[in-house]
Symmetry: C2
Subunit: 321 residues, 2 copies
């Protein structure tokens, strides 16, 4: 059927190893630049999606099933020790993913001739796209945040998301309500060649679920190499993570930051602390073009708008009375 | 023939992309713990060597030939941005190696059934041994240092090596002579479970060629995650690299250190500066057991003995008069 992007959209499936039936899902990452998730939809974008959702996804699925899945939290912990903050930089995690999948993709290709082209294409896709792991990470973060959702009276932030117009958050204790404010502009963004601030849309996308789970801007200290990509210095990456300890309820027991002498990543945003400290969550993100069809044009650091947190706390307060 | 470790010892071949006929070679890395290079030679060590030098090496060779080789300096630059210092920590470089080889290993296994078991074993070997890249890196460093050797009157250090008894260096301007001093003990080593300082041999091995080429201890700032493995803090990893700028002649134009805001790695040890500053080269190394047959028992930081540099400079001075 003409116009249909793909007969089916394949999804990564992330489950809680501790048990339970909950799962979270994410599509396969298309790479930087012209990608559907950044508003691009030209012929090459659509053909790439057909490949990803067809033979590549089938080979990855078959390989993962023979392995019984991959332990994501271990892999994410290793990536944090290898220069990723796991939002804007997923290069090391993608390498670990490719390295761990390689033997199973090989065994698949050898044992099933029909799967061989898909297996080769899957290995090439992982080789060529440093962001392959990002979507898996987002699903893992969504699953972790969902597990903390629904605690009565809790001001813990369980989601942050943006749609290019509004920025919204959810609290654990306020059910399915979203509390929104105008989406911020990314300050001091670093643009791909040929683009500038004038091309930038407002903050957009659901990838801030990584910050909600203590990664991305919260773990920026893990990724001094990204300073060149988003603006800043090695010291500013450490300072960004350090500032987030004042607004978080805990430190991740397994995801540690070597540059902060293995301190656990700051995790569990307390909306009350955000307002008390006036310290807005740091988000390390991509920048979409303001017009549809172009895609990602840069990357940079932004902050969640404080107005969301004020609105959410007011609602929590009203519900508690 | 009984007692022969392998009918042949397979070697990585590193060549200068800028041209010339020079090459450097290194065997395949066996992994941590019980390994021939650390003095272990039990049945499992020998069987592992047979696998590595047989089907695994054959598959890697065939895959690399179809790719026309791999651009090592690019890969090493990426690894320095991913938490490796490329001596004691080669985890990210090994992941990049596996990720880049995976499509070619797959294509090989699919096109040549006889190679398939070796290709699967090669992918598994790369998956399971974080040090797979170390030997390749050592050969690349050897090639770089050799290119700087033989400059008349030059006090540039072109080799540092240890044999568990002596520590020796060569200068660019003093030909094939080695200038030696007693091998140092590794201070404040971190030991594998069950081992302690009492088990440690003196500093041993040719891997200090990585420091000679500006990696390892010289690029320690790239690898805060290794602080837990060798002792130290994130700040001490940065301080180690910073101290090496006082004894080196240049900064690597492509190998940069994100934690030092992308300063080029300190490279080109000036023996005269070592003595002037009293600042001995930092070496980030493994610790072998003092008895043969056991292998690696820990890791830590040591310093090259100043006496080597004094002896080398005296010889250079005598030859120049």
């Amino acid at each position: 059927m003409a116009g249909v992007i793909s007969p089916s959209m394949s999804l990564w499936v992330v489950q809680d190893a501790a048990g339970g039936t909950a799962a979270a899902y994410a599509p396969l990452n298309e790479g930087l630049g012209a990608a559907l998730r950044f508003g691009a939809h030209g012929p090459t974008v659509l053909e790439r999606l057909r490949q990803l959702n067809g033979p590549i996804a089938a080979a990855l699925d078959a390989a993962l099933r023979t392995m019984g899945g991959l332990p994501l939290s271990v892999l994410m912990a290793k990536a944090l020790h290898s220069g990723d903050e796991l939002h804007n930089r997923c290069a090391a995690a993608t390498s670990l993913l490719a390295r761990n999948l390689s033997p199973a993709l090989l065994a698949l290709a050898v044992s099933d001739t029909a799967s061989a082209p898909g297996a080769v294409a899957a290995a090439a896709a992982l080789r060529d796209n440093d962001h392959s792991f990002l979507n898996i990470c987002m699903a893992a973060c969504k699953l972790a945040c969902d597990a903390a959702h629904g605690v009565p009276h809790s001001a813990l932030v369980t989601a942050m998301a943006r749609n290019g117009t509004e920025f919204g958050i959810r609290l654990s204790g306020t059910g399915s309500a979203w509390f929104t404010a105008p989406a911020p502009r990314i300050q001091n963004g670093v643009y791909f060649p040929g683009y500038s601030d004038a091309d930038a849309g407002l903050d957009m996308g659901d990838s801030a679920i990584t910050e909600t789970a203590g990664l991305g801007g919260f773990s920026l200290a893990a990724a001094p190499a990204i300073a060149a990509f988003v603006g800043g210095t090695a010291a500013s990456t450490r300072a960004a993570s350090e500032a987030m300890y004042s607004i978080t309820l805990g430190r991740h027991p397994a995801h540690t930051l070597p540059a902060l002498d293995f301190a656990g990543a700051p995790i569990g945003i307390d909306a009350a602390a955000v307002l008390d400290c006036g310290e807005a969550p740091v988000i390390n993100t991509g920048i979409a073009h303001r017009l549809p069809g172009v895609g990602q044009v840069g990357a940079g650091i932004t902050r969640a708008p404080l107005a969301c947190f004020a609105a959410a706390l007011a609602a929590l307060d009203a519900a508690t009375r």
